[in-house]
């Protein structure tokens, strides 16, 4: 249990982008988006340049574009909003394919879609190329307050704990002849969700206390370990993972 490798959003790789220090990546993301947002939405060609820049980074990261595209569903509700805008906005109207659309609305929709999409793609690229543990260290280097980093560290670890406890509970349920096939079964899932909260918490608490038992002070001094992350552990040159079993 505890810190697993990566998360569902992380695309494992060793490209330049993957290896770049997390704090630089976060800072670049922030600067890039500030510039994008500050750009007037009528400077159409500039947005092409931004997109080209992003595409170049993704290409360098070797993350399959489809991988990013699939995660862009986050944007859907907001796309719906943008698409509705030309219909409901006030002001002068133009006719497009027989529909009467608000001119300002069209422009606003374009602006929202362009800036929003760039933001989504940029964030997803960061997510795909950065392990949460590195992100944690990166935020620390960016002087994000200690308490926030600490909560974030626990949050990342609890994501694993909760997922693991959920997996255990699912296996336990199914072994005893249950599978959640229809809405009728939801109450059972809901009842065990309450237990999940306490179970996860208590498991996490026990692990945390085990860490304290081994001299962990919770301080994030350089060289010390953060919950769920370590930079104090040596990278010994011992032979890499050999597995017992002499069968081919």
């Amino acid at each position: 249990m505890g810190a697993g490798h990566g998360h569902k959003l992380h695309y494992h790789g060793h490209s330049v982008v993957h290896r770049a220090p997390a704090h630089l990546k976060v800072a670049s993301l922030l600067v890039f988006m500030l510039v994008v947002v500050a750009t007037s939405r009528t400077w159409f060609p500039v947005f092409g340049v931004y997109l080209a820049l992003l595409v170049a980074v993704i290409a360098a990261s070797k993350v399959p574009p489809l991988y990013i595209v699939k995660r862009m569903v986050v944007e859907v509700p907001f796309v719906v909003f943008a698409l509705l805008m030309p219909f409901v906005a006030t002001g002068p109207r133009v006719d497009v394919l027989g529909l009467s659309l608000a001119e300002d609305g069209l422009l606003a929709a374009w602006g929202l879609l362009a800036k929003g999409t760039l933001g989504v793609v940029a964030s997803l690229t960061l997510a795909a190329t950065t392990e949460p543990r590195d992100l944690l260290a990166g935020l620390e280097r960016l002087r994000v307050p200690h308490q926030l980093v600490q909560i974030l560290g626990f949050m990342i670890r609890y994501l694993d704990v909760v997922t693991e406890e959920m997996r255990r509970m699912r296996v336990a349920r199914e072994s005893r002849g249950f599978s959640a096939r229809s809405v009728r079964h939801w109450p059972v899932v809901a009842r065990s969700a309450g237990a999940l909260f306490i179970r996860s918490y208590e498991r996490g608490e026990r692990v945390h206390l085990a860490m304290l038992s081994r001299g962990y002070t919770g301080s994030l001094t350089p060289g010390a370990t953060t919950p769920g992350a370590t930079n104090a552990t040596p990278t010994t040159a011992a032979p890499s993972s050999t597995t017992p079993g002499n069968h081919a």
């Binding site: 998360h7 976060v26 993301l29 922030l30 988006m33 947002v37 939405r41 986050v74 944007e75 859907v76 509700p77 907001f78 909003f81 805008m85 409901v88 906005a89 006030t90 002001g91 608000a102 609305g105 606003a108 602006g111 929202l112 362009a114 800036k115 929003g116 933001g119 989504v120 793609v121 940029a122 964030s123 960061l126 997510a127 949460p132 992100l135 307050p145 308490q147 926030l148 600490q150 909560i151 974030l152 626990f154 949050m155 670890r157 609890y158 909760v162 809901a190 969700a193 309450g194 237990a195 909260f197 306490i198 996860s200 918490y201 208590e202 996490g204 608490e205 945390h208 304290l212 919770g218």
Partner: protein
Amino acid sequence: MHVPDGFLDAPTSVATGVVAAAGVGLALRKARAELDDRTAPMAGLVATFVFATQMLNFPVGLGTSGHLLGGALAAVLVGPWTGILSVSVVLLVQALLLADGGITALGTNITLMSLVGLVVGWLVFRGLQRVLPKRVGLVPVLAAAGAFVSVPAAALAFTGLYAVGGTAPIPLDTLAAAMLGWHTLIGVGEAVITGLVVGSVVAVRPDLVYGARPALAVRTLEIRSDAGASA
């Protein structure tokens, strides 16, 4: 209601950024008393659960996306100050890793969900707790009430911000009506979930619920000096 990049104009984004920074800064100072060895993990778990509840995302007609907020839940479980930190961390993670809410709109999102939603939920909870009898059994009900009010409150704040700094000209009354309507419905869901989770925690670990502490009785320990008595 995660606000994406470029949704509000620059002055509004900067202003909400300042408000968020001030709010989180205050919470950092105040939470120092709440946050120790034992509560830091709890704050992390609450962040995880808020994160999970906010994943239940569904499109809302004219608003952006509608989903549960989890602010009242966080406040009741870990206290308002730590709760603000937890929810802010969730919003930060969502902006960085899920692209849910823009990074330049982080201040706006923190202001709406972590400050307005959570504080309103907590005030309703605490206000009711003051006037009603102090019973542990009531805590989940009060938490649900706080949760119910917190969602439309955040939605109203969103509409207000939009009126000031929206980048598209939409009739405000349409937006306000849509936001309030939908978010009252979401508030019901929020109330049910908050009540259930708080209820299940109060049932077995009342000590973990910040909001239940005023209602907890102190236990006296029994000492058995005679070993034979225990057989």
